[in-house]
């Protein structure tokens, strides 16, 4: 056991997953990820490079992937906004990579050292056009490690840029965890596939003497050709296929933790650092005899609709607590399909919630629903 910082846990998780390429640009509160990589990668035979901006950082990671290395970058809000162009390019070119966004208060420079969860929609919908998205988060240092490992696995399984959302507190928090011993250097399986079909549902094949792949952000078909009257349809099919594959696997991808929901009449739904506070809010409410539980989301996209629907059918109301002014609550409400009332509790002032504030919001919702219920009964 040793004390590990959240940002450090990203690095250990990445190295354990065979990550051997890091390109980045300094930004609070993600910088330590880059600093650890700068120290560790040269001695492991991997590549570390500090680029001239965040666009360049993700561009280099994408180039490295086609050169046969396993790459990642990390940033925060302003850098994440800049990276959107290349997140779109990675999605369009089906290039596996991992992007960490340690969220801080925005928009713009905002509060660089203070936590937020305001990038959850940008992580899903950022970059123009439609794209498949895999976005994960964590609420403890151990989970940061596990989530990073999972992200590399998924990036290669689905050929997408996987986005890990942390926040300023989780990045800088230290907790005692057991870190596994790293192999001396990454042993990566050599890719196999048909050099004539480098895109679509086919496996990712970096450039080699056997390939003549054209990688492009232009609409293309499975062979990489960008011309012909059917190219729009062919490209749409690739995108639809990638999106459908993630939708089909959504039950497997939907990582979450149910806490005291077995007998719950009410549910708090939360994620990331806010889920820790929500856990304490459940303690407070349970002590008052309120039958409440917590659904903590680890996978944010694809949004775990089936889990939410099953929960909405059996509770009387749900509350989403998040560090923004109302983002993921929209998806929660849509998934609940009116089966139970859904309210949101948000803030974007750089402070975390207190357990009391979340408990109070849940109590207020309960009162409102019960009063509403009695009134409708009287009518």
């Amino acid at each position: 056991m040793r004390l590990v910082q959240g940002n450090e846990a990203v690095v250990w998780g990445a190295l354990a997953s065979g990550c051997n390429f890091y390109a980045g640009y300094p930004i609070t509160p993600a910088t330590e990820i880059m600093e650890y990589m700068a120290r560790l990668l040269p001695g492991r035979g991997g590549v570390f490079i500090q680029m001239e901006d965040e666009l360049a950082a993700l561009g280099a990671v994408i180039g490295a992937a086609w050169g046969g290395m396993r790459g990642m970058t990390a940033t925060s809000g302003p850098g994440f906004s800049l990276m959107q162009e290349h997140i779109g390019y990675a999605a369009m070119s089906q290039t596996p990579c991992v992007v960490v966004d340690s969220q801080r208060v925005g928009p713009s420079t905002g509060q660089p050292t203070m936590p937020a969860q305001g990038d959850v929609m940008q992580a899903r919908w950022g970059s123009h056009g439609d794209r498949p998205a895999l976005v994960v988060t964590a609420s403890s240092v151990k989970e940061v490690y596990d989530t990073t490992r999972l992200s590399f696995e998924w990036a290669y399984a689905y050929r997408v840029p996987v986005i890990i959302l942390l926040d300023a507190v989780l990045s800088h928090m230290r907790e005692n965890i057991e870190l596994p011993v790293l192999p001396a250097s990454a042993e990566l399986a050599s890719p196999s596939g048909d050099p004539e079909l480098p895109f679509g549902s086919h496996p990712f094949m970096p450039f080699s003497a056997a390939t003549r792949t054209i990688v492009s952000g232009l609409a293309h078909d499975e062979s990489g050709a960008t011309r012909g009257s059917g190219i729009g349809t062919a490209n749409e099919q690739i995108l639809k296929g990638a999106i459908r594959q993630i939708e089909n696997d959504a039950p497997r991808l939907a990582r979450c933790r149910a806490d005291r929901l077995e007998d719950a009449e009410w549910a708090i739904v939360s994620y990331g650092i806010t889920a820790r506070t929500a856990r304490s809010a459940v303690d407070l409410l349970r002590a008052d005899g309120v039958r409440v539980g917590l659904l903590e989301l680890h996978t944010l996209w694809p949004f775990p609709e089936q889990i939410v629907q099953a929960l909405a059918q059996r509770v009387r109301g749900m509350l989403m607590a998040e560090l923004n002014l109302g983002q993921l609550v929209l998806s929660l409400r849509a998934a609940a399909q009116g089966m139970c009332p859904v309210s949101g509790l948000g803030r974007a002032d750089g402070e975390l919630f207190t357990p009391e504030a979340i408990a109070a919001a849940m109590s207020a919702e309960i009162r409102q629903i019960e009063v509403g219920g009695r009134m409708s009964h009287h009518v």
Binding site: P42, I49, G59, G63
Partner: protein, 281 residues
Amino acid sequence: MSDVGADLKRYLRSPMMPTVWCPGCGHGNIARAIATALDRLAIDLGQVVILGGIGCSGRTPFYFNTNAMHTTHGRVLAFATGLKLANPRLTLIVAMGDGDALAIGAGHFVHAARRNIDLTVILYNNSIYGMTGGQQAPTTPFSFRSTTSPFGSIEPTFDAVDLALAAGATYVARTTTFDFAEMPELISEAIRHPGFAMVEILSQCPTYFGRLNKLGDAPDMLEYERDHTVVADEEPNQAVEITRQDLVGNLPVGVFRREIRPEYVQQYAELSRGRGGNYGA
């Protein structure tokens, strides 16, 4: 040219022909010069990657029988940097346009040059944004017209050679599509050069730059290139001075720098070995 012809076809990706380039465009001449250089150097095509950004020049990667990356506007050198570091055995040829390299991508251009990473930039300079229909570029000469400088440009002209020299590029050359024999020579030399090499090639755009500025058709524009350049090698002391003057009048061409300086990937390999790593081994 004696060494062009059927043999060059093996360097090209025939299903992608014809190119998107307009009749008379100089970019096809440059692509041919690249194929000629590859032929002379006898490099295994499986070890070559041709990369491009966005714009007319950016289409170059599609036309070669190599692995290829057609990337984002201005940012191709970021992709190239990652690719070269991941696989140093590859020979990278990067096609950039003047807007691509000197406007939206200027930040990436100077840092790739500063690192002296081993790749070759072919800067296709047609003095205008061709793909979007003839807008002003940083290289549009002062007083010349474009669709976004309809009354003549009031901006100073950007000199790619000056920028490359200042940023630390170790091989810097400029020629024109008129110099049909010199193009493949300079490109070959740039590819062999162990560091960041840039060859800027003035290329004619009769469709937009020529038409908007009444410079005639492609042959007229080639003659214009001939008549408005001076060979820097013959007047080495004047070269730098001239580039800072009106570029329309006396644009120097030739090789401006050949220098051997530590190359980035080699530097990184040494760093890795020093830390007990096996990078590049």
